[in-house]
């Protein structure tokens, strides 16, 4: 009896206690604020497990801040998210904006002591674009000369004269064995690789110039390897001993790279294949300078095809617009004017990686023990889906910029678990995208009479959330415009509770009301204006997107009437709206859209949800009527980040919208060098697009940050790339209040 009563009493007691605890956390801060035990140790709740730490293999917001902290670049993301000089002390931009020369200092060091040189960057560029790497971020470099051909393995150089063309000609492969590439593609035959090599003797893969005894792998005789680079040639490193060396890839297991003397590669498996080639247009030739209009005319010329054999032809890095004329100078060249080069210099696509570590283990080098870093922080421990441990790098060239001695990153992909960990004081700061939507009304203070928590901040995030409309199915522009006019964006912050900035315009930016005076002047707007503005260079260059189709129920109904008349029987009875699972807010937005379209237009909407990967695949194949999508930028150049996605041939153009005027204006834009004129023309193009409504923008993203009050210098910027190494913890934070 006694046991029973005890058990019963415990259960009832727990239940009562639980119900009583249904109140909200009181106090100024959200959760426990523990004592600062180590002012130089930050515990950071990240939004999941990074897919890797190799700059060439990552693309997620989870991995990139860690990669940027471990691998230094020509420039790095500053506190405000704009590039600031790092390894490069200065750079020269050519007047036609097609070439940038970076001047580097010699103080950069890898964690194994070796200096960081321009050759490391050139090597990384080749790695990024080589098909063997299959980098998800290769398109960061798509402005570069030779990019299109190299990435498809169709670009090559003739080291010696052949087919009537002089030595060193850069050519494009257009066919082989008498048939064109298109004909072979129909027959499902793949291009024989002119870079295949083999040797009669074993190949000792080693570092450049090393003795055969120092080999870390040996390729058996008569085994194919792939030639990647030859020393002594343009774009490559000098010959170590007066002799050219070859950097090759051996396809064993995960793959392995190494240098061998070129002379040892005596076999060419595809040496007798007859390739059809033609010289590339002059705007693709690195080092060639011509006025823009001449280049444009030249690009349209038809060039004659000639036939050469496999032994005349090899795909080498020199077809790309990257050169290291000396160890501390890097020159990059673009096909047309490319204002995005400076901001790309901070991205992972141009951050050097260490050849000696990558060569030995191309897929697993970025792990504790084998990783070689050049940035402020170095990786010492990593447990998958658990945590990463980074420490101050002893070899970093600017130690005074580094405040942290230790950074512990918790890989938490569950938003609630992450925020709870912050609440109980077990991590000091949490990633902006890691707070569940259901917590937002509590954090913003809505639930306790408008008293937000002092450690919660909402900041703009450079990204736009919009609805895709399948223009093949809904080919009537009036229908699409009706859908756009019927959405009241002012309701969105109430639906999502995250201070999202509702917009009808497309290119995202900072809300105009939040700009400082210098930026207001640069943008040419006044603080009381609605909308957002994209600051490209603080205080200097700014892009204001044209206004979109703002909420207007009358006009919506007028457009709908027109659409009904024009479409007749094809007018849809219901519209299906698709969204992906995994993020709470998508469902809330879907319900909001459904309610609006029903109440303003009287159209029934069916909601459909799909798992993220399936959703991506389906929308890419136009298997949707309307669907949500978001676009978070990695930089502030509006053409490459935003406008380009709606061009006819863009792979991101899911609505499959194709408009001749939009294409014509953008063709003009890519040839323009004056930054302000370019932005004005870009606005013209965006106006065409927004009026045609292939997409319906809803809001600009915001970042919801939680940081304990003792955390200092953990800067939140609009592209969510905080310089983590500058953060520190202030044990005296209470006294300062």
């Amino acid at each position: 009896m006694r046991i029973g009563v005890t058990v019963l009493a415990t259960v009832v007691g727990l239940a009562a206690g639980g119900l009583a605890a249904c109140g909200l956390p009181d106090g100024e801060y959200f959760g426990v604020v523990p004592e600062v035990r180590d002012p130089r140790h930050l515990r950071w709740c990240n939004n999941g497990q990074p897919e890797g730490l190799d700059p060439a293999a990552v693309s997620s917001t989870t991995a990139t801040p860690l990669v940027h902290a471990m691998f230094d670049g020509l420039t790095r993301y500053g506190n405000d998210g704009y590039p600031e000089a790092s390894l490069a002390t200065s750079w020269d931009i050519s007047p036609d904006r097609r070439r940038v020369t970076f001047h580097m200092h010699d103080k950069g060091r890898w964690s194994n002591g070796r200096p960081v040189t321009a050759h490391d960057i050139a090597y990384h560029v080749v790695r990024m674009l080589h098909p063997l790497t299959a980098s998800p971020s290769a398109d960061h470099l798509d402005w570069m000369k030779g990019y299109d051909l190299y990435i498809e393995r169709r670009g090559a150089v003739l080291p010696g004269a052949a087919g009537g063309l002089p030595a060193g000609t850069i050519v494009e492969i257009t066919g082989w064995s008498g048939k064109s590439l298109a004909e072979h593609k129909q027959a499902k035959a793949s291009l024989p690789d002119p870079n295949q090599r083999r040797a009669k003797a074993p190949l000792a893969l080693r570092e450049l110039g090393a003795a055969p005894g120092a080999a870390y792998a040996t390729v058996p005789p008569e085994t194919n390897v792939t030639l990647i680079e030859i020393s002594g040639r343009p774009a490559s490193i000098d010959n170590p001993d007066g002799q050219p060396w070859a950097y090759v890839h051996w396809n064993r297991g995960d793959g392995i790279f190494g240098w061998v003397p070129l002379a040892e590669l005596d076999g060419l498996p595809n040496g007798e294949v007859r390739y059809r080639v033609k010289p590339v247009a002059r705007n693709q030739i690195p080092g060639l300078d011509l006025p823009l209009d001449e280049l444009a005319a030249d690009a349209k010329l038809e060039r004659a095809e000639v036939e050469v054999t496999g032994k005349d032809l090899v795909a080498l890095p020199e077809v790309l617009g990257v050169r290291a004329p000396d160890p501390y100078t890097l020159v990059v060249e673009a096909v047309g004017p490319a204002p995005q080069i400076i901001e790309t210099s901070a991205s992972r696509a141009l951050r050097p990686t260490p050849r000696e570590a990558v060569s030995r283990s191309p897929r697993r080098w970025a792990q504790p023990g084998t990783i070689v870093t050049s940035g402020p922080l170095h990786l010492v421990d990593m447990r998958e889906r658990d945590y990463l441990e980074l420490v101050r790098s002893p070899t970093y060239w600017q130690p005074e910029d580094v405040k942290l001695d230790r950074l512990t990153v918790y890989s938490m992909d569950d938003q609630a678990a992450s925020t709870n960990t912050y609440f109980t004081g077990r991590c000091d700061a949490i990633r902006g995208s890691n707070v569940p939507t259901s917590y937002l009304p509590v954090l913003s203070g809505d639930k306790r009479g408008g008293k937000p928590y002092a450690d919660y901040t909402v900041r703009p995030w450079l990204g736009v959330y919009f609805i895709l409309v399948n223009t093949k199915q809904y080919d009537n522009v009036h229908l699409r415009r009706a859908l756009a006019f019927s959405l009241d964006r002012d309701l969105i912050p109430r639906v999502l509770h995250g201070n999202e900035y509702g917009v009808a315009s497309y290119t995202p930016g900072t809300p105009i009301a939040e700009l400082d005076d210098a930026d207001l002047a640069a943008c040419g707007v006044t603080r009381d204006q609605r909308g957002v503005a994209l600051v490209i260079e603080p205080g200097a260059l700014c892009y204001v997107p044209p206004p979109g189709l703002e909420y207007d129920p009358e006009r919506a109904r007028q457009e709908l009437a027109l659409a009904r008349k024009e479409m007749g029987a094809r007018f849809p009875r219901t519209i299906v709206y698709k969204f992906n699972t995994g993020v709470e807010s998508h469902k809330l937005v879907a319900e909001y859209v459904q309610a609006q379209w029903k109440s303003v237009l009287g159209i029934d909407v069916t909601l459909e949800s799909q798992e993220w990967q399936v959703f991506l695949a389906d929308t890419r194949k136009q298997q949707f009527q309307t669907a949500r999508l978001g676009w978070i930028a990695s930089g502030s150049e509006p053409y490459s980040q935003f406008a380009r996605n709606w061009r006819c041939t863009s792979p991101n153009n899911r609505p499959k919208w194709c408009h001749p005027e939009y294409e014509a204006i953008l063709d003009e834009v890519v040839g323009m060098t004056d930054p302000r004129a370019r932005l004005r023309r870009l606005a013209d193009a965006e106006k065409v697009m927004i009026e045609e409504a292939p997409i319906i923008p809803l809001y600009n993203y915001t970042q919801k940050h939680l940081q304990k009050p003792y955390v200092r210098d953990l800067h939140i910027n609009f592209i969510d790339q905080p310089p983590l190494w500058r953060a520190w913890l202030d044990p005296d934070w209470k006294r300062e209040k």
Partner: protein, 305 residues
């Protein structure tokens, strides 16, 4: 006893063989392969991948390679991650094991106490209340109980960490939540088992001899009454040790459960077959343990098998 162990082990090997075979063929029959993604993979990379995973070899050859690898416990390399399956199991199994064992211990102890008490006070208020508690334990889903416990014991009272299972106290909440479901079933099984043994002759003998009721129940009736519990807990332990996906997600524990689900969704053949074989091996061993325990507990079954 020895014959028992040997026959069971041989049977286990046969079961593993069947599992490895069936999973090999079923996976390859499912639509979509490990590399069906919306990304167009360049030719050269595609060729590399196919060579490396022998996806172009004739099926029977792939099967033979697969079996010989399984036999040497080399589960191969993940197709989606830069790790071998053995590494993944070595890294993540300990978390699942710790969690599973704590959950089992809790479930066994708490459930048995609940069930035996209820049986001792059969048809009283105590009995009904305790069985309602047991039913609640079975019925309340872990994704409801988990956040509730996190709210009460972690956020409000601050006794335990809400996630990441750091240190012993980090495993308490997830083990409680995970074990609660099993505890409920154990309670009902224990009650039924003890009720059954209470009517047996030897229990009557014990009572007749003048032993205190408490001793009769908790020492004599319990010993055999617990057999259904053990039968249930054997396979349950295997399930618990291979990881519970939901608990691991709620409490952010880097265990194996996640990979069971993930490898199916992404068609990561080596990981899935490796995990299946791992799980079945555990199952076989635990069933063997259960059988041995029968012999230990119930002298009547000892040499009859």
């Amino acid at each position: 006893m020895l014959r028992l162990v040997v026959t069971r082990l041989l049977g286990g090997v046969f079961v593993l063989f069947v599992v490895a075979t069936v999973s090999f063929f079923l996976l390859r029959a499912a639509p979509g392969g490990p590399f069906a993604s919306e990304r167009v993979v360049p030719e050269a990379v595609q060729r590399n991948i196919e060579e490396r995973y022998h996806l172009n070899d004739p099926l029977w050859q792939q099967y033979v390679t697969h079996l010989s690898r399984m036999a040497t416990l080399d589960f191969g390399h993940s197709m989606k991650r830069q790790r071998t399956v053995n590494e993944m199991i070595a890294d993540h199994a300990p978390h699942s094991l710790r969690l599973g064992l704590m959950a089992i211990v809790f479930a066994a102890l708490f459930g048995t106490v609940l069930g035996v008490t209820a049986a001792a006070k059969r048809n009283s208020a105590t009995d009904y209340t305790l069985m309602v508690v047991a039913l609640l334990g079975i019925s309340i889903p872990s994704f409801v109980l988990g956040p509730m416990f996190i709210r009460w014991f972690s956020l409000d009272l601050g006794w335990f960490p809400p996630a990441r299972a750091e240190g012993f106290e980090g495993y308490v909440l997830p083990a409680l939540v995970l074990g609660m479901i099993y505890a409920g079933t154990v309670a009902r099984l224990a009650r039924a088992g003890v009720l059954d043994t209470m009517s047996q002759d030897y229990v009557r003998t014990a009572r007749a001899k003048g032993l205190a009721e408490r001793v009769v129940v908790w020492k004599h009736a319990l010993r055999l009454g617990v057999i259904p519990v053990i039968t249930y807990l054997g396979p349950a332990t295997a399930a618990l040790i291979s990881g519970s996906f939901v608990i691991e997600k709620i409490f952010q524990i880097p265990g194996l459960g996640y990979y069971f689900v993930d490898s199916v969704v992404s068609r990561d053949y080596p990981v899935l077959t490796g995990l299946l074989v791992f799980y079945v091996a555990f199952l076989v061993v635990l069933n063997l343990v259960v059988d041995i325990l029968y012999g230990v507990i119930d002298p009547r079954t000892r040499d009859a098998r």
